[in-house]
Amino acid sequence: MVNESAQIATEPALRAENLNVYYGSTLAVREVNLKIPKNKVVAFIGPSGCGKSTVLRCFNRMNDLIPTARVTGTISFQGTNLYAPSVDPVELRRRIGMVFQKPNPFPKSIYNNIAFGARINGYKGDMDELVEMSLRRAAIWDEVKDKLQESGLALSGGQQQRLCIARAIAIAPEIILMDEPCSALDPISTLKVEELIHELKQQYTIVIVTHNMQQASRVSDLTAFYNAEALEGGSKVGYLVEYDRTTSIFHNPAEKATQDYVSGRFG
């Protein structure tokens, strides 16, 4: 096991090539090329509307649920194109999990919030054990262990978000996508989630969208900066400006636009 994972560590977990996303007939993001290495945290940053969420949703085909969305190009995940006809999005989403901007626990008990994903995916192991393990990994076990049968909605926002992360890791995904997971949280909850991301990095590959520059520099190994440019006719299209190690992006970026954005001189 160890040898094998050491060998394939160089192989990217996800690789996007010539990715274009359209909503209806408007091109929202153009020609994204990037590799997301295994067991790393990749941050997506950039101004609002430049297509960070759009790209993120391509990675687990959540865009399929938006009727107007259309994707061209390829995203390889373990050697196969995610958008190949043979790939089943339902099966894929178990392997590539997602955490949303607003905490969205199910209106069910804390226990069932975790157990739902496992159950529908045919989990055969000990459910109690899985629930405890997932909650522990999401660093929320101590806060909820005495009220597993209470509603997930009765938790604070930060706790709810960690519950959602626990729910996502309960089904043993390989990659976790997070779309601004801390934007609705206070600084303390944010720190907790960031510590959690550090922990999770050991086992998972994480892609996180954030508007918080400090957060990007704190949690990520690599950072992708997206921007949007106006087309003739007034519509805007997003594109990947620069993708590099986080320290490079923040300290000596190659592009002036990146420099301006990370130092707050944008727009």
Partner: protein, 352 residues
């Protein structure tokens, strides 16, 4: 420079442009409060008058005999047993048909169907159907359930012809006395040894009434199902899909539990409408005088509103008071039905 001046003096002059006049705003407030209060009082007053009047006339007649006697020409011996039984039979039939069909259609349209011109056309039509006068449904029921699928109807003739030709073919192929023929003959004939067609509804029967009223309330059930589904936040659907759930798993485990109280309320409202309907049932030919209890879905029947209507239309005052008694019984049945739904809903809602 034409940038707005934000210095102190201009802020003050800006503030001076507000005419707060708090007392006149409160005055408008209280005028509207009074008007809305008046609206609700008038509604309640009318309702109270109605109920008091009915109770005054009818209550002396509501007793055990009234509930357990069949209708009679003599007011003092008349009861509404057959109408009460008919109402219960028909309502159960309506619920059993309209609930799964309406909820199923609502779930399909809201959760599964793509948004295209076809589903939009269906949606518009369903909304329109909710406003079609009930007598039209009566005419539809008369044609389809009584005439086409009833005794000696088109469907009866068709099945009869099929059965007869099957029998003829077998006689020609295997001769008159084969074992096969005996067996098939047994399948094709009724108890009297006659080859008959298939009579599905039995004509002016409970099932015909139930189907007609089910069609009548179906749009209401569909629309309220869709509305309750729409009220469930999309973030829950996304959460489910992101965990690798199929659409059905999301609907079954996350969406329906949340929407169910609303679906139930809509269904009960629909049934409350059906229970008071008279016109479509008279159109399909429900009888007004029945002195036996329904035995099965193909039995003739009458219902409470028809019985009440029948009593009201008689000249004698005594029958009018009986009608008031009938209204009380109808109201009680309605109340029982609604409170069951409210209880059920609260029980389901309390979970989380």
């Amino acid at each position: 420079m034409n940038t707005p001046n934000t210095s102190g003096s201009s802020l003050e002059s800006q503030a001076a442009k507000f005419e707060v006049d708090i007392s006149s705003r409160y005055r408008t407030d209280s005028i509207f409060k009074t008007l809305t209060w008046l609206a609700i009082s008038i509604a309640l007053l009318v309702l109270a008058t109605l109920i008091v009047d009915v109770l005054f006339d009818g209550l002396p007649f509501v007793n055990w005999d009234f509930l357990t006697n069949f209708p009679s020409r003599k007011p003092e011996r008349a009861g509404l047993l057959s109408a009460l039984a008919g109402t219960i039979w028909v309502m159960v039939t309506v619920a059993v048909i309209a609930f799964p069909l309406g909820v199923g259609a609502g779930i399909f349209l809201e959760e599964f169907a793509e948004d295209n011109w076809f589903t939009r056309a269906i949606e518009i039509n369903i909304n329109n159907l909710a406003g079609v006068p009930s007598i039209i449904y009566g005419l539809l029921g008369l044609q389809v359930f009584v005439r086409v699928f009833g005794p000696n109807g088109w469907f009866y003739e068709l099945t009869l012809a099929i059965k007869e030709s099957v029998y003829q073919l077998l006689v020609e192929a295997f001769g008159n006395n084969s074992m096969l023929l005996q067996w098939v003959y047994g399948l094709l004939t009724d108890a009297d040894g006659q080859i008959t067609g298939v009579d599905i509804t039995g004509g002016r029967s409970i099932i015909t009434g139930g189907l007609t009223l089910a069609l009548l309330v179906l749009p209401i059930v569909i629309v309220s199902t869709r509305e309750s589904l729409r009220a469930v936040p999309d973030s829950l659907r996304l959460a489910g899909f992101a965990l690798g759930a199929t659409r059905w798993q999301v609907v079954r485990d996350q969406i329906m539990p949340m929407a169910f109280p609303g679906v139930l309320t809509g269904t009960i409202l629909a049934l409350s409408r059906a229970i008071g309907e008279t016109a479509p049932l008279i159109t399909i030919g429900a009888l007004t005088f029945i002195s036996f209890l329904p035995e099965n879905l193909q039995s003739p029947f009458t219902v409470l509103p028809i019985q009440i209507y029948n009593w009201v239309s008689r000249p004698q005052k005594d029958f009018h008071d009986l009608a008031a008694g009938g209204i009380i019984v109808l109201l009680v049945v309605l109340l029982v039905m609604n409170s069951t739904a409210v209880l059920l809903r609260n029980k389901l809602q309390k979970r989380f």
